[in-house]
Amino acid sequence: MNDVWILAEYHKGMIKEVSYELLAWGRSLADSLGSSLCAVLLSPKIETEKVNSLFEYGADVVYHCTDSSFEFLNCATFSCALESLVRERSPHILLGAATTTGRSVLPYLAVKVSSGLTADCTSLTIEKETNLLLQTRPAIGGNIMATIKTPEHRPQMATVRPKSKKPLKREIGRKGRLESIPFDPLWKDERMKVLEEYIHEGNESSIEEAKRVVSGGKGLKKKENFELISRIASCLGAAVGASREAVDRGWIGYSHQVGLSGKTISPKLYMAVGISGAVQHLAGIKTAEYIVSINNDPTSPIIQISDLAIVGDLFTVCGEIEKEFERRKVFS
């Protein structure tokens, strides 16, 4: 069997958007192989229409295993369920998201099924002669792109970053085969228990999942000025990022730090304001689709890596950007 599988993600009664992105990645691979695209969903009971959305976004088959223990991630439990499915059905390829879930479960599973796993792929294609998965990923701070194969072990496993591909256009009413997988109580791992979950306020989206990220650096000069970044971000519908200098000064929390010792992100738009573009910072944004920067020093490295760079005072430029958004609001 040459089936391509994706691991769908669930949170609070919803199927996470990244699942549909994974289906888009998987669809093109399944089409090159002439095989089926299957989504694995491990979740508590969930509305049928939500499960069906997986078909509408490209899945041919959905393996759905329901149990209340899938409410929160428990790597051992999830991995047991996946291992059993994988052993029974031997998929050719298994893709997951490079999220806190995918990055935890898939390595755990890779050991159990004795196969390799390639993290954070930016390109996945099928090698014509061999039908093998070619997995391309940035390495060494994004300085090189490595192409990796898993020639002998199955499934060939890889993770891809959220927002690195658009979901396919939803085909309302598209159908597929739904297979319910019975939950085996032996899978349940009791050693770890989630006691409480705190969910961020609505607009504080994580920088890894955001399509657009506006980041501020030391050029903002002080904490109060950092507000400017949040305002521009909210105009653009973007998440807020920061350089390490900004984080170390306590202007914003570590979860917003972009770079080598922060997060590596691949948004469609990355806007760097008052950030010099040190190698360690650039390491986190090399795979962004478009980079825009605002900096008053024309020799800053960030300028060289930008698609569009404004050389000017960030306070004046950002003030003008806000005004322009205001004007557009009035006219639209």
Binding site: K12, S104, I144, V292, L308, G312, E320
Partner: protein, 271 residues
């Protein structure tokens, strides 16, 4: 109790050479340091030690030069260190690295807790920690941002997720991977440095570990690097001069034109 902290030596800058034939990193030349994110794993272990009276063992798999990061761990306050090194381990991917480390840890007797960094700044996979947990069948908690309660048989921690965070409890033995937020790292003390200097750290080779030879190194790795390319670094920077205030409005219009042209202004699907 016994806490093991696997730490890794990584190249200092992003300026690293790769062997284009084997796809393996050439380590000579660039300066090597302790993976900055592993400092937080060491710090977490030391805090645990202060709370529960533990023995902390740092372990690394790497060439002879990796001994240096173990000395750093000792200087910070770790009690012991183990160096795993053999030509047979060279070129291992995460699967094979985690296998070797798991075997070494299994050989240490009763271990209560393993703490790894979130990821190494060179490989950048974050897989080795979870994979060690899997080899040893341990419960795994990733992305730990706070140690809320440390007991000798269980712990309560905060774990970051995309949506927010979770408060959870895990029984020991377990493996956790920690984020930078977990603690502020201490400096090494003079006493620690002296101890590190005098300490003789054992090196374990294939002979000392109960390992399956076909799982080791480049040969034993399921994943194979088939091609290495330079990443696209430069972009066709359109540079707009706007140092004088009167040039700013036009610059901003150009910015909006750019954003519109690339369809970056569309609202709605903002996340």
């Amino acid at each position: 109790m016994v806490i093991v902290v696997p730490i890794k030596q990584v190249p200092e800058t992003s300026n690293v050479q790769m062997d284009s034939v084997t796809g393996v990193m050439i380590r000579s030349g660039s300066k090597a340091i302790l993976n900055p994110l592993d400092l937080y794993a060491i710090e977490s272990a030391l805090r645990y030690k202060e709370a529960c009276d533990a023995r902390v063992i740092a372990v690394t798999m790497g060439p002879q030069s990796a001994m240096k990061v173990l000395k750093e761990a000792i200087a910070m306050g770790c009690d012991d260190a183990v160096h795993i090194s053999d030509r047979a381990f060279a070129g291992a991917d995460t699967w094979s690295t985690s296998y070797t480390l798991a075997k070494a840890i299994a050989g240490m007797g009763k271990v209560d807790l393993i703490i790894t960094g979130e990821r190494a700044t060179d490989g950048d996979t974050g897989q080795v920690g979870p994979e060690i947990a899997s080899w040893l069948n341990l419960p795994l908690v990733t992305y730990v941002s706070q140690l809320i309660e440390m007991r000798s048989d269980s712990m309560m921690v905060k774990r970051m997720t995309e949506e927010g965070y979770q408060k959870l409890e895990v029984t020991l033995p377990a493996l956790i991977t920690v984020l930078k937020e977990v603690a502020t790292v201490r400096l090494s003390t003079l006493k620690g440095k002296m101890r590190a200097m005098d300490m003789i750290i054992p090196t374990r080779t294939v002979k000392d570990l109960d390992v399956e030879p076909s799982y080791l190194g480049l040969k034993g790795s399921p994943t194979k690097v088939v091609k290495i390319e330079q990443a696209r670094v430069k972009r066709d920077a359109l540079i707009i001069e706007a140092m004088e205030a009167d040039k700013v409005p036009d610059a901003v219009i150009s910015l909006f034109d750019f954003l519109e042209d690339k369809q970056l202004l569309e609202k709605g699907e903002s996340r």
